[in-house]
């Protein structure tokens, strides 16, 4: 007995010593990494001279955070995770009934989203709700929709597309330009933008039919850049980097308008005080409907032959062909349908901003959308929605964290650390959940009962 407790003690002592050592190393490494990036800052003064600012305090904060974080991780977090993993594998054999919340998560989420704008109006007033409905609600839902659209290409058909933002751009510019030059309304142009984007999806699809994996990714990346460069340089039509402004607003199916001067203005008809909040609330429901349409189509397609063929294509292309599946049309439809939803989202983006420029369609956007799909768990709609809320909502939330100024001084702007935190979050999620938030793939067909087999049993790299 004494022996056992002895070994425990020495193990504990070892752990603390190791944690201290590793914490120290982490501190040294972060000092080396950040001494030039954080410790020194160059700014320009009024006479355009470079001035070197020394920020040793901030550097100390970075180093201490790294050292203490490493110490805590080694000494406490890892043993705790290991213990939890052991406990989880011990109880894995006993099947637990999923809670009501977990089973009906998507229904609850949809109902909550429908009541979200009125709730914000009640809580923050008509004008105060603007920020919550627009910056959080609409912004997140656009990314949910984009990620769900990309999920068809990447998650289901397994075609790594790094240029998805091209279709977003095609949709946005379709609406912006066609409404400017031909005066067509949003409701005519929404399907048209989708069709045009799908068409571009096919154009991308044809040359890359024979490519896979990394090669495909590079070509799609180039495609995204080509579209952006065309938008910048075709100045007669797109007005280049100046962008297209004054894009007309959408109306409620032509019945009520949101133009201030229009006689059928929404606020005038209902005798409400003038506010742009009504338009934002309308846009919120519009993007919610579009996103739900995307989800509905995805769910339906997965149960249809074409959806099954996509998933089979992701798994094994040769086997697909030997089963009589035409891989050419299967790939092209995946590109086209994914692109179509990107186009819908793009025309919504144009109508929401009232202004589009090539600046909005840089590679970073594609990367963020892809990151959301991967973090959420390829193919899982709920996981992707959660990932979008975390990634997009999280970065929006950074803007709100003004209290950090009192810690780091008045110059501290949390938004600047957006990408740092974004990257950190991705690393953490990928370490803890390598398959994304929802890693297990839901089967589409069952005989009698559904049984869930965790993704962790399947080969790594195949899921």
């Amino acid at each position: 007995m004494a022996n056992i407790s002895n070994t425990h003690e020495s193990a504990g002592g070892n752990l603390t010593a190791r944690a201290l050592r590793e914490g120290f190393y982490a501190g040294v490494i972060s000092l080396g990494l950040f001494v030039l990036f954080v410790g020194l800052e160059t700014t320009q003064n009024i006479r355009n001279e470079l001035v070197l600012n020394q920020r040793w305090g901030l550097l100390a904060v970075f180093v201490i955070v790294a050292a203490v974080g490493r110490f805590l991780s080694v000494a406490y977090l890892r043993p705790w995770l290991a213990a939890r993993k052991a406990a989880a594998s011990a109880t894995a054999s006993t099947e637990t009934e999923e809670s009501f919340f977990k089973r009906n998560f998507s229904k609850i989420a949809i109902v909550a989203l429908i009541f979200y704008p009125p709730l914000m109006v009640v809580l923050f007033g008509v004008q105060g709700s603007l920020k919550w409905v627009d910056n959080f609600g609409i912004q997140i839902l656009i990314y949910v929709m984009l990620a769900w659209g990309l999920n068809i290409v990447v998650g289901l058909a397994g075609l790594l597309d790094l240029g998805y933002v091209a279709f977003y751009a095609v949709g946005a510019y379709s609406y912006a330009l066609l409404s400017q030059y031909f005066g067509l309304s949003f409701w005519v142009l929404l399907p048209l933008a989708g069709i045009l984007a799908a068409f571009w999806g096919m154009i991308l699809g044809f040359p890359v039919l024979r490519l896979k994996g990394d090669y495909l990714a590079i070509v799609t990346l180039a495609f995204g850049e080509i579209i952006r460069l065309v938008l910048i340089n075709w100045t007669e039509v797109t007005k280049g980097t100046f962008g297209v402004s004054g894009i007309p607003k959408a109306s409620v199916f032509g019945i009520w308008s949101f133009d201030v001067s229009a006689p059928n203005n929404f606020a005038k008809v209902f005798e409400l005080p003038m506010s742009s909040a009504y338009y934002k609330i309308f846009l919120f429901y519009l993007i919610l409907a579009l996103a739900l349409l995307t989800a509905y189509v995805t769910i339906r397609l997965r149960r249809m032959p074409i959806g099954r063929a996509w998933e089979a294509l992701r798994e094994d292309e040769i086997a697909c062909r030997s089963l009589g599946i035409n891989t050419v049309t299967t790939k092209l439809t995946a590109f086209a349908i994914g692109a179509m939803f990107g186009g819908f989202a793009g025309s919504f983006f144009a109508v929401r901003q009232g202004f589009v420029s090539p600046e909005s369609f840089v590679f970073l956007e594609s990367a963020i959308i892809l990151a959301i799909v991967v973090l959420g768990g390829m193919g899982s709609l709920i996981g992707i929605a959660v990932a979008a809320v975390v990634m997009v909502g999280g970065t929006e939330l950074l803007r709100e964290m003004t209290f950090l100024k009192s810690i780091f001084g008045p110059d501290f702007t949390p938004e600047l650390y957006r990408m740092l935190i974004f990257g950190l979050a991705m690393v953490v999620v990928m370490v803890l959940k390598p398959r994304g938030f929802v890693g297990s793939r839901e089967p589409t067909a069952f005989l009698k009962e559904r049984k869930n087999v965790s993704g962790s049993f399947t080969k790594e790299g195949h899921g």
Binding site: R308, A309, R321, G463
Partner: protein
Amino acid sequence: MSDTLLSVQGVETYYGNIRALGGVNVDVKKGEIVSLIGANGAGKSTLMMTICGSPQARTGTITFDGEDITRLPTHLIARRRIAQSPEGRRIFPRMTVYENLQMGASLDNLKYFDEDVEKIFTLFPRLKERQAQRGGTLSGGEQQMLSIGRALMARPKLLLLDEPSLGLAPLIIRQIFDAIKVLNEEQGLTVFLVEQNAFAALKLSHRAYVMVNGQVTMSGSGKELLANPEVRAAYLEGGRH
């Protein structure tokens, strides 16, 4: 010969400039089990793939059921009801057993799925137990059963099996070969089999071909080849430990 289902005439296949098949002639008649044996690199799997149109034969013709299929793309060849259980099984690892079988039935858009899936489950009861499990979690033998089952779901006129015994225990191999025999005897299924396991393949087959360096060097009934001293020396005694 009206009862010839598959006829391979003078087929040459190249990988780039390298000739893998040098004028192969093989016939498979309706209701037969025909096997193709040979050493590693003899071109057995290449012949199998050439029949499926990937890669396509550079010269020669492949006729199936009276129709020239030499230049057809793979998926159209599959739609002529040539089903293949490819080398290395190639099941869909993230899809369940049930979904894998559904994929096999996609030619008819699941029209006969319910009755056919019952037949597969009778043939391979293990698959029924495992139907909700992901393909990738199955054992090698179960994956092979699934691969054959998936091919059968397409209601094939000709079943191509590429090394069904690859990496499997002798007992499992026997189960699978028994199943092939049952399919042939009870349903009249025509089977063309590529095998390293020459002894088991020759015992099962009506006729067999021996392939060396991309050419067919010998052919005859399974029994004849089993008794042939050359075949015994090259593929049977040497291979048995």
